[in-house]
Symmetry: C2
Subunit: 465 residues, 2 copies
């Protein structure tokens, strides 16, 4: 069996912790592992690392890579040149598997769901395996815990064997409240988890029949020759989900009820639901002090939060934004995210702290003509060899030791010492030592944007083509 982890996804629902450039699956919300890391680890107990293909949008590539590289030395990571929903992503991954490994079972799953009981998950997959081998496209259904309006529903048909699996009578889109209650009462419906299992060839046939456009373009890819996803080809595919493209039309679909726990962490309220609470029903995370609060969640990632007399309030604090919300209205956070996006407010897109494979940086302050960052380089990490056309930089070492290359000369800088990086001069920053390196960077110039960068060598020291 092969696994495909869909690691795209936007950052709107868990804003301000998630951002367009730092979506839900990358987050560690009071957990050791991110949802992506947990998903990858979950698959590793069903298959070996060489059988797992991850696919993500190019803008998340470095973050996804840096998380997975910690878990495995053999990460296969495909980059979507452009966002195209789940069907095109699944199509190219299945074609990739057929080209490289031949026809095999393929398990497709999102990267941002929380499942704690990996054993029961594995057991469910092995049940699905049986039906996938029989030629079914298997989808995994979640037993509804309440009449949710936020999920798609799957209506079961005939029981295939002691309720371990059913044929699918119908896929239903997100229902209204009344309909959702009806579904819930009937006991005939499951939530659509977005997890699928099928034989590669069976999937390609379904594509051919129900999504010929995607099928024909998928065939143009030859991953035997080239593992990169060609932009021109991929961009021609319609942006559509697997459900719309195939599941709602295909005849040979079976649904296997998921035996394990499941939570899609679709909003902050669900984060509250799964979190450990004190006896007043409060979830306090980080630097929090509170008095007479109940059923509330105070999440500090940076500064002190003081809560007084709150009931059913959710607050999430980050370095550049604070969300305060009625705990039952957290779905509306999407609205805030969209508003910020419209207003072109960077707060929807990035954090003031941005993680990179070599460490991270935090924007400390900025004004007309200047920008100040704190840059932290992990032990043995290094930045690319680069230059800037519109800005000069000044570096001051706070902690650790920096190895700076400037115009082909090398400088070793200890805490307190500083260096000027003039406009247009090639430079790089490295931390070849065992303790983290922290420096202050003061940028000066009329045009201070991340895009003002020319890279000559990447962070692995490889010269750019």
């Amino acid at each position: 069996m092969h696994g495909v982890i869909l690691a795209g996804g936007s950052g709107s629902r868990l804003w301000p912790l998630s951002r367009e450039l730092y979506p839900k699956q990358l987050l560690k919300i009071n957990t050791e592992k991110s949802l992506l890391e947990a998903t990858y680890t979950r698959l590793l107990q069903i298959m070996d690392e060489k059988s797992i293909i991850n696919i993500t949008n190019r803008k998340h590539l470095s973050d996804v890579k840096s998380q997975l590289d910690v878990i495995s030395k053999n990460v296969t990571l495909l980059s979507e040149p452009v966002s195209k929903n789940t069907a095109p992503a699944a199509a190219v991954c299945v074609k990739y598997i057929m080209d490289k490994k031949g026809d095999d079972l393929v398990l497709i799953l999102p990267s941002d769901h929380l499942i704690k009981d990996n054993k029961l998950f594995a057991k469910t997959i092995s049940i699905g395996e049986k039906y996938a081998k029989e030629g079914y496209i298997v989808t995994f259904g979640i037993t509804p815990s309440s009449p949710q309006e936020g999920y798609g529903y799957i209506k079961t048909g005939k029981d295939l064997n002691k309720k371990e699996a059913f044929t699918v009578a119908e896929f239903k889109e997100k229902p209204d409240e009344k309909t959702a209650k009806k579904y819930f009462k009937s006991g005939k419906y499951y939530w659509n988890s977005g997890i699928f299992l099928f034989k590669a060839s069976i999937f390609m046939n379904a594509l051919k029949e129900y999504a010929p456009e995607i099928y024909s373009i998928a065939l143009e890819f030859n991953f035997k020759k080239n593992s990169e996803i060609d932009f021109m080809k991929f961009d021609k595919m319609p942006s559509i989900s697997l459900d719309y493209a195939i599941m709602e039309h295909a005849k040979n679909i079976a649904v296997v009820p998921l035996l394990s726990d499941w939570n899609d962490l679709g909003c902050w309220e669900s984060i509250y639901d799964i979190s450990k609470k004190n006896k007043e029903g409060n979830v306090n995370i980080g630097n929090v002090i509170s008095k007479d609060c109940k059923n509330s969640m105070l999440y500090s990632s940076d500064r002190l939060i003081a809560g007084v007399g709150l009931d059913n309030v959710l607050l999430v604090e980050t370095a550049d934004a604070v969300l305060v919300c009625d705990k039952n209205k957290t779905q509306e956070v999407k609205y805030i995210y969209e508003k910020l996006k419209e207003a072109n407010n960077e707060t929807h897109r990035i954090h003031t702290t941005v993680y990179r494979p070599w460490g991270y940086y935090t924007v400390l302050n900025q004004g007309e003509g200047y920008l100040t960052k704190m840059i932290c380089v992990s032990p043995r990490g290094q930045l690319s060899l680069q230059s800037h056309n519109f800005r000069s930089e000044h570096w001051v070492v706070l902690k650790g030791t920096a190895r700076v290359t400037l115009d082909n000369k090398t400088y070793i800088l200890k805490p307190g010492s500083s260096i000027d990086i003039p406009v247009k001069i090639k430079h790089s920053l490295a931390n070849p030592y065992d303790v983290e390196l922290k420096i202050i960077e003061v940028q000066k110039g009329d045009k201070l944007v991340e895009e003002d960068i020319i890279r000559y060598k990447d962070i692995y020291g490889r010269t750019k083509a």
Copy 2:
């Protein structure tokens, strides 16, 4: 007539905007003037600047001075060497007036009350003047708008003239809910405003009779010779309020109802009450975006705040702390302040941004062995000539032009240029120009505390004794 502005006061009630080192009277909450500036300006329409004496705790001296210096070139500002409540402060100020100006009427008032109608205020004072001249100690009463438990009450005795003034039957301490309602219904009570008017000699006689300890020490001060308040003497005075020391005992007290509006801004709820609201009853200040909120207040002084579905919630955001509170529980904020104080958490005491006569600085980040500040020097402002025993500093100019004196040499630094300040070397920073100067300061050392400073010349260039 002379005026005494009591400009001490802690910063607990409007935390996190107010701090121990930046109390309520210094704040500009959505207003152009601070409460202190407004109080001083209010007095200026009744008397000239030479007749106004301000007194504050030494730890607030520089902040109080920098605010008043903008309004007047003739600010009289006395420094309490130690906090001793209102009676000792009033006593030394009255003695100061008798020594310097002789026996005159004295109007004593707090610096942190909001009064918008200065004309009606002045009219009330002129009524009080009449009775003060007759030998009364006049207190000004606030007509209760509700049965508040948070104020002291004054029970009226005999009507002195068409209800423009009454004798005082009794001073009542903060009542319980039941008693407060009784007072409110009776119509015989006023709130104690803490504003007093009397003849200096009458006040001294009352001191002599009811607070002999304070009286005898007050006599030891000779302000003809020395305008400084001697610590050894002042520290011997008991810490007690004017009400306890005199008002509750003196016989010759009259209460004059204040004709103007009045608000002591005793808690965040009262800030909400006086603020302009949108049609949903929300007060949004600063960088705020909200959806489906009502009767709430979102105050951003730094980052973006997003509010969703809130009702009756108050949120105040500062660079280092966030308060989120049921709008009717804002009195409890005092508890948070005390907790932080106990825990020795600096967040109760100072802001990450600290205002100085020459401008301000903001702590950007700190860690083991380093601390980074953004220092902003106002046009023509300068810092003292100083040195440090335990830290070196590195300055990078972000904006404007810096004149740096280092070891008796002078350097002119433009944006982007930097300079090292070694340990123990005398240095000063000045901005002799018309645009503000911004620099990044990186401190390095094992002991990075504000106290590590030796000053040779003050900010006015005067050599220290």
